[in-house]
Every structure is written in structure tokens, then in C-alpha cells.
């Protein structure tokens, strides 16, 4: 038994700054305001106690946003039995495994720690902010967004300054299948920004179940933006009798100002057929012209398998997309403009976004 070798190491220990990681477990905000954020071989726990738990409901989203930046943010990493002093969060503690960061703080860094504590905290915060930002890219950024960042003069300046940034840069290139920024060609791009030459005027949104009001609202926002981006004239919400109220909820929240004809079509299954085949038949009928099939929420796995099989023969081949939580990359613009890194943490937001396969 062995693990897939994506070499992430438990890395940073810092109170009161932004954390972004691949996935999260969050408890109910009304009950306990605790998030666990995990990065592959280490783990992070962020905890915040609220004075007024009843307000936590509204604040739920911030856990996706600024990683509980206020404090306290606890960090633990595995050290065997973990009974040493390393167990407890210490703003100046760095894992011995994190050689890149340790090297970074040798020499001048060490001197700064001794003599200018405030400055060091600021400097480290800057470094960690950037590191977290790059991890964000690592997880969520499309290849073309990464390319844009890496090609910016500002990034190149930073990468010369910090070895750690170079490490992240290599990781991102590895995960996004980019050998090197200079080598990126349009054909090498596999992410959502890969350009589409043919015009797509229909978006088929598959809604098997979406029974949360907030999610419906966010989904409608994302679908509207996506339709605007593609200049699509038609959005078809495909649902079953059970999910029809969910689809109607989404339809009611689509932006009124965009020129889309949103209509709801219910999957019509015969008694002898399974619901999955009924889905496939309906989708197949709707995909006679260039379109995108957008999957929203939980979708029956049997349907996903059938879709993959259908794609082999279907002409024209529809594009596939899913709706997932993604941080908005507003800060990319700021980074490109060379603004202060401190600003990065203020501008990240998370929302549902369409990600094309």
C-alpha cells in the first residue's frame, strides 16, 4: 500500500492569518464554530468561539472565505505521539520537515526574529499569505489562471525573493499538468478556461436534488453568470417530479436582466425503465445541438456513468460542467497590479462556480 505522491508537507504555523485548503469539514455553525481544514499529510483546525451563537448562522460562509482569520487558529501536525512541546500552536514554530521555509528564515530572517519581532510577524504573514494564496491556486486555479499569475512580473519578483514560492510553483505546475509556464500552449490547457470556439446556445442544467434555499440562490447566481459568459439564449432545467420544486426555486432566482429562456423539463420515465435511463434519454434529446450539460448538487452515480458512456458516441459532443464551491479570484487582479499582499486576505470570497471538465 502506498500513497499517491503529491508531496504536500505540513507546513506553516501562524496565528491570525488566512488559510485555504483543499476541502473542509465544518460543523453546524449554530452549534459549534469549528472547521477542520485538511491538507494532505497534515491537518489544520481552525476554531472560533462566538459571543452570540445565534449570529453564527449568517457568518457560516466566512469559513469558506478568510479561514477564520481573526483568531484563534490552531495548528497541529503529526509528530508521532505528539507529546512534546510542538503540540501546541506557537506562532514561531515551524515544522522541521518544512526545510524550504526553514531555509527561508535562516540568515536575515533569524536576525529579524531576534531584533524586530513586529517586523518578523509582518514579514511572515506576508510570506504565509502568499503561500496560502498559492495553495488556493493549487487547488482551485485553472491552468490558464495559473499561467496568468506566473507570467506576471510581480510573481517573478516574488519567486526570486522566496524559495518557498518556487516550491509551490513547482507543485502547481505538477498538479495542473504544466511542465513550465513558458511551455504552456493552448492545447495543454485542461481547465475551465480552455477556450471554446463553437458557439453554445443551450445550457442543460441537471438538478436531481437541491433542497437548500441558500444553495438554490447561489446556484442561480452561478448559472446566470455562466449563461452571460457563454451568451447562451436558453437554459433548460432538467429535473424529476421530486426535484421540480428545487428547479422552480432556481428558475425564480435566475438574473432577470439576462437574455435567457429558462424552462423546466421534467424527466419522463416509463415504469419499465430506470430513472437513470430516463435521465439519459431526456439529456440525449436536449443535446442534439451544441450544448453544455451542467450538473448541480448530488447526482445519481448511475447517471454519471451513463453520461460518460454516452459521450463516446454522441455527436456533437456536449461539454460537461459541474457546480462547485470556489473562491473568487479577485485578488488575482490585485496581484497582477502588484498591490500589497496584505490586501489579498481582504478580498477573497467563495461562491458556487461553474467548472468545465
Amino acid at each position: 500500500m502506498r500513497s499517491l505522491a503529491l508531496q504536500f508537507k505540513p507546513c506553516c504555523v501562524e496565528l491570525a492569518f488566512t488559510l485555504y485548503y483543499p476541502d473542509m469539514v465544518y460543523s453546524n455553525p449554530l452549534i459549534a464554530e469549528i472547521d477542520l481544514l485538511l491538507i494532505f499529510e497534515g491537518g489544520y483546525v481552525c476554531a472560533e468561539l462566538k459571543k452570540e451563537p445565534s449570529k453564527a448562522l449568517k457568518d457560516s460562509l466566512k469559513y469558506f472565505v478568510n479561514g477564520l482569520a481573526q483568531q484563534p487558529v490552531f495548528y497541529l501536525y503529526d509528530k508521532g505521539r505528539g507529546l512534546g512541546e510542538e503540540r501546541y500552536p506557537n506562532p514561531f514554530l515551524i515544522s522541521q520537515e518544512n526545510s524550504a521555509l526553514l531555509n527561508e528564515l535562516k540568515g536575515e530572517g533569524r536576525e529579524k526574529i531576534r531584533s524586530y519581532m513586529d517586523l518578523v510577524i509582518r514579514e511572515r504573514k506576508k510570506l504565509f499569505s502568499l503561500d496560502n494564496f498559492l495553495r488556493l491556486l493549487l487547488v482551485y486555479g485553472s491552468p490558464s489562471v495559473c499561467k496568468g499569475i506566473f507570467n506576471s512580473t510581480f510573481f517573478q519578483k516574488l519567486s526570486k525573493e522566496f524559495q518557498l514560492i518556487n516550491t509551490r510553483y513547482s507543485q502547481i505546475c505538477k498538479v495542473k499538468l504544466l511542465n513550465h509556464v513558458d511551455d504552456i500552449s493552448p492545447s495543454a490547457q485542461t481547465g475551465s478556461e480552455s477556450s471554446t470556439t463553437e458557439h453554445i446556445d443551450r445550457i442543460v442544467v441537471v438538478i436531481a436534488s437541491l433542497n437548500n434555499e441558500f444553495l438554490r440562490q447561489e446556484a442561480a447566481k452561478a448559472i446566470s453568470s455562466y449563461a452571460e459568459k457563454l451568451s447562451s439564449k436558453e437554459v433548460i432545467l432538467l429535473c424529476t417530479s421530486q426535484s421540480k420544486p428545487d428547479a422552480e426555486g432556481v428558475k425564480g432566482k435566475l438574473k432577470p436582466n439576462i437574455q435567457v429562456q429558462a424552462k423546466i423539463e421534467a424527466v419522463k420515465g416509463e415504469q419499465s425503465k430506470s430513472i437513470e435511463m430516463a435521465w439519459i434519454n431526456s439529456i440525449s434529446e436536449l443535446c442534439e445541438r451544441p450544448c453544455v450539460i451542467l450538473f448541480v448538487g448530488e447526482v445519481p452515480k448511475g447517471l454519471l456513468v451513463e453520461i460518460a458512456k454516452m459521450l463516446e458516441f454522441k455527436r456533437p459532443k456536449p461539454k460537461l460542467a459541474v457546480l462547485t464551491w470556489r473562491p473568487r479570484l479577485d485578488s488575482i487582479d490585485k496581484l497582477m497590479q502588484g498591490l500589497e499582499l496584505g490586501d489579498l486576505t481582504e478580498t477573497e470570497r467563495v461562491e458556487l462556480d461553474v467548472v468545465e471538465l
Binding site: A32, L36, F74, T240, V322
Partner: protein
């Protein structure tokens, strides 16, 4: 059976960890599994409880009490000072239980000095208030030893996956019976230990504890404000169903020494039923019938997978076979037991089973993989277990598909599709694109009923 008696059930965490195949196999284990194999029950519980951040063990017994209201109290011995200190500093352990108690036992005077927190969460441990040690508490009718999985389920409280953990515990406790109901008797996976048996836990204790954990959690959650439940930003909505039934079931459990539960198949559905006959069996039968679909419904996926693979069996023979399983947040050790039974029933050789975990499911996937590697990694079962930590992200799933394609030089890959939508869709499409006929896609989901295809 009134709750005014306030009888309690105490779950004690089993410490021993004694897998059968202790020789040789450990060398193959990597990373996380290597850490886990050297730990005992409490270490595994801490690993699950801290979402994989800690892998240490503790010194003294851990006990959890469950009362008729479903409330839980975790008892900690003062000797485990580091754990208590961590709990005080990190509200990670105790936010999932209702109450904490720290106790100290004096061997000579039998004097108990302990601190107990008030009911509630996010409270620091209060010291100096009188409380008795868990061994001395007269309200506790019985103390049973349970596996780390059941103990974890019982201490998961309001965690958004706590219901899944409870179901996993029940499924794991009944895994042999479920396999028998799905695949019949002639499955040599039945020779293998069930998960809890690795810890020396007796069947009846594990079943009782697992049902108590599930019922306790569901009773407590049913008391939560609806708004709070709806606040979960997840597409997998959980409905709190059968709250009254779980309340009755919990009270029944507190009065019983054991819960004789059987699993059988009825009209293509898995059904829980009482196996023994006593004065409560009729009442218990009704309760079990009401919760059968919730507890076992997902596992009918293995029958579908079996049937679909059986149809393909001619194509599979004489091929080197590998399997990739998306480990969703609902899955647990029982799933591996059923998979091993399925493979055994199919009578095929699986070279490698790739377990595709997400950061959300990773701790349970890691512990379950360890179990699978040690107990079920035999020929004609799951073969070598390879634990792969992936993500929901489309880009990472694409890397994963390429990784699988490169790893499997010969033979075919059976991908049992389960997990987050984005991961499943990406893997299905990419594996088909990269591996063509070499990729066999099987949904790991129950076959939908024709009746559900009704139109609007």
C-alpha cells in the same frame, strides 16, 4: 422504561488491536497506514476524532455515557493530562459530546475527586466539582466495550457526518450478516474478521453500542432547531426521520444486555429484524423495520455492482483485474467487507484495489483501508490495497485518472463510482477517454426503483 429512571449505558473504548496478519504486510503499508498500524484502539479513535491530525494513544480507559435523552458524557482520567490539556486548549474533542468529566481515583481511600462540566458545548472543563468515576456510577446499568469506530460515532454528536458515522458503526457491526444476506453463505470473506473483531470486541457489544450511538445522535439532532439543520451548506440534505422511533430504541437499548439483530433480504431490500425472541422482540421488530432502509438502503448498491459485474464476467476472465473505489463519506469498514465478499462471490482475482479518498472521507478511508489491507487483502478478495488521497477538484481528479492509467499497464480497471459528483464525473469521463475498453465503470449506488421514475 421511563426515562425518569435515568439509566445509562457506558461505552468503553477497546484498546487492543490485534490484526491477524501481523507479519510482512506492514512493510507494504505506507504513510498514514504505517502510523495507524502501531496504534491501539484509543489511537485510532483520536485519529478519527481529530480528523487525522493526531496519531497518539492515551494511558487510561476512555468511557462515554449515554443517557435516555441521547446526551453523552465523556469521562477522562486525570492521568491523561495531555489529552485533557489539549481539550482545554483545543475545543476539538469535546464539542461533539454534551458533557465532559475529569475524574481521579485514589487507590487507597477510593476517593473520587473530579470535575464535571455543565451540560452544553464549548465549555471548559470545570475542576473541583464533585463527581464519581465512571466505574462507580450507579446510574450506569451496564458497561460494554466497543470498537473505536462505534466510540467515535458516539462521540461525534453534532458533526455533520455524525449520522454517517453512526450508520457506518451499525453496518460494520452487522457486516457479516449483511454480506450473508447479499451474497449467501459460500463467501470465504466470512472467514475474515469483522472490523470490531480486530479489537477483540464481542459481536453483541458492538451491535448494542453501535445502535446506541446512532440512536443517541439522531435523538439529539431531532431536538435541534430546523434553521440550524438547514444551515448546512451541503447538497446532501439529511432528514431527521424516525426521531420518536430512535428515542424508543435508545430507551430499549438502555434496558437490555444485548440486541439480537439479524439481516435478511425481502423483496430485493435489505431488512433488519430481531433474531431472538423475547418480550420486546415484537416491539423491536417494528422499530428495526422502520429504520431498515435508512441503515441498510445504501448497501444494496453492492447487489447491483455484483449483478452488473456478473454480466461482464466473461469479458473479465483471463484478464488482470484492478479495482478503484471512490470512498465516499458514507462508507466505512463494512464496505470493504462487502467488496471482498462480492469479489469472492464473483470468483475473480483482483490484483490491486485503489481506495480513492477525499480530504473529507480520508480518516475513515485510511482506517478502513488498514483493516482491508490486514484482513481482506487476500487473493480472490481485494488484493493489494493502495490508498490514494484525491480531492473533489476537477484538476486533481484528472491527475488521478492519469495516475491510474499509468499504473495499470496490463489488464482492466473496474471503477466503482462513488463519492463527490465532480470527482465521479471527471474520473468516469477521463478514464473512459484514457483507457477506453480497459476501464469498466460501475455505479456504486442502489438500483433505482422503476416507480421513482414518475413524471411531473
Amino acid at each position: 422504561m421511563s426515562s425518569s429512571f435515568n439509566l445509562m449505558l457506558a461505552l468503553k473504548l477497546a484498546e487492543a488491536f490485534s490484526p491477524r496478519s501481523v507479519k510482512g504486510d506492514y512493510k507494504k503499508l505506507g504513510g498514514i497506514m504505517n502510523k495507524l498500524k502501531g496504534l491501539n484502539g484509543s489511537g485510532h479513535w483520536i485519529f478519527l476524532q481529530t480528523h487525522g491530525m493526531w496519531t497518539c494513544g492515551i494511558e487510561e480507559d476512555l468511557t462515554l455515557e449515554i443517557n435516555p435523552e441521547g446526551r453523552t458524557t465523556l469521562y477522562l482520567n486525570y492521568k491523561d493530562y495531555d489529552l485533557i490539556k489539549a481539550i482545554e486548549n483545543i475545543p476539538l474533542f469535546h464539542f461533539m459530546v454534551d458533557r465532559l468529566a475529569v475524574y481521579k481515583e485514589d487507590k487507597e481511600e477510593k476517593e473520587k475527586i473530579s470535575g464535571i462540566s455543565p451540560w452544553g458545548i464549548h465549555v471548559r472543563v470545570k475542576r473541583g466539582e464533585p463527581a464519581t468515576s465512571p466505574k462507580q456510577r450507579i446510574e450506569v446499568k451496564q458497561r460494554i466495550e466497543v470498537s473505536p469506530l462505534t466510540f467515535f460515532a458516539a462521540t461525534s454528536g453534532f458533526h455533520r457526518l455524525a449520522r454517517s458515522f453512526g450508520l457506518q458503526a451499525v453496518q460494520s457491526a452487522l457486516s457479516k450478516k449483511i454480506a450473508k444476506a447479499l451474497f449467501g453463505d459460500d463467501v470465504s470473506a466470512s472467514d475474515c474478521k469483522a472490523f470490531h473483531e480486530l479489537y477483540g470486541v464481542r459481536d453483541e457489544n458492538e451491535v448494542l453500542g453501535a445502535f446506541a450511538a446512532l440512536a443517541s445522535r439522531n435523538v439529539r439532532t431531532s431536538q435541534m432547531p430546523l434553521k440550524a439543520l438547514e444551515a448546512e451548506l451541503t447538497t446532501a440534505r439529511e432528514r431527521i426521520r424516525n426521531a420518536c422511533i430512535y428515542k424508543c430504541l435508545l430507551e430499549l437499548i438502555l434496558w437490555r444486555k444485548r440486541l439480537d439483530v439479524d439481516v435478511r433480504e425481502s423483496n430485493g431490500k435489505l431488512q433488519l429484524s430481531p433474531s431472538g425472541k423475547d418480550e420486546d422482540s415484537e416491539k423491536l421488530g417494528d422499530m428495526l423495520e422502520a429504520i431498515s432502509q435508512e441503515v441498510l438502503g445504501r448497501l444494496e448498491a453492492y447487489r447491483r455492482a455484483f449483478e452488473e459485474l456478473k454480466e461482464l464476467k466473461n469479458k473479465l476472465s483471463d484478464e488482470e483485474l484492478h479495482m478503484a473505489v471512490g470512498f465516499s463519506e458514507q462508507m466505512g469498514p463494512c464496505d470493504f467487507y462487502l467488496l471482498a465478499s462480492l469479489v469472492n462471490k464473483l470468483n475473480v482475482e483482483i490484483e490491486t484495489t485503489y481506495v480513492l479518498a477525499t480530504p473529507l472521507s480520508y480518516p475513515m478511508a485510511a482506517l478502513s483501508s488498514l483493516y482491508a489491507a490486514l484482513e481482506l487483502g487476500k487473493p480472490k478478495m481485494l488484493g493489494d490495497i493502495e490508498f490514494v488521497l484525491a480531492s473533489e477538484d476537477v484538476a486533481v481528479s484528472k491527475v488521478l485518472a492519469k495516475y491510474l492509467e499509468e499504473e495499470i499497464e496490463r489488464g482492466k480497471l473496474i471503477y466503482l463510482a462513488s463519492g463527490p459528483t465532480s470527482q465521479v464525473l471527471t474520473l468516469c469521463v477521463e478514464l473512459k477517454r484514457l483507457m477506453k475498453e480497459k476501464a469498466i465503470l460501475i455505479p456504486l449506488a442502489p438500483r433505482p426503483a422503476a416507480a421513482r421514475a414518475t413524471t411531473a
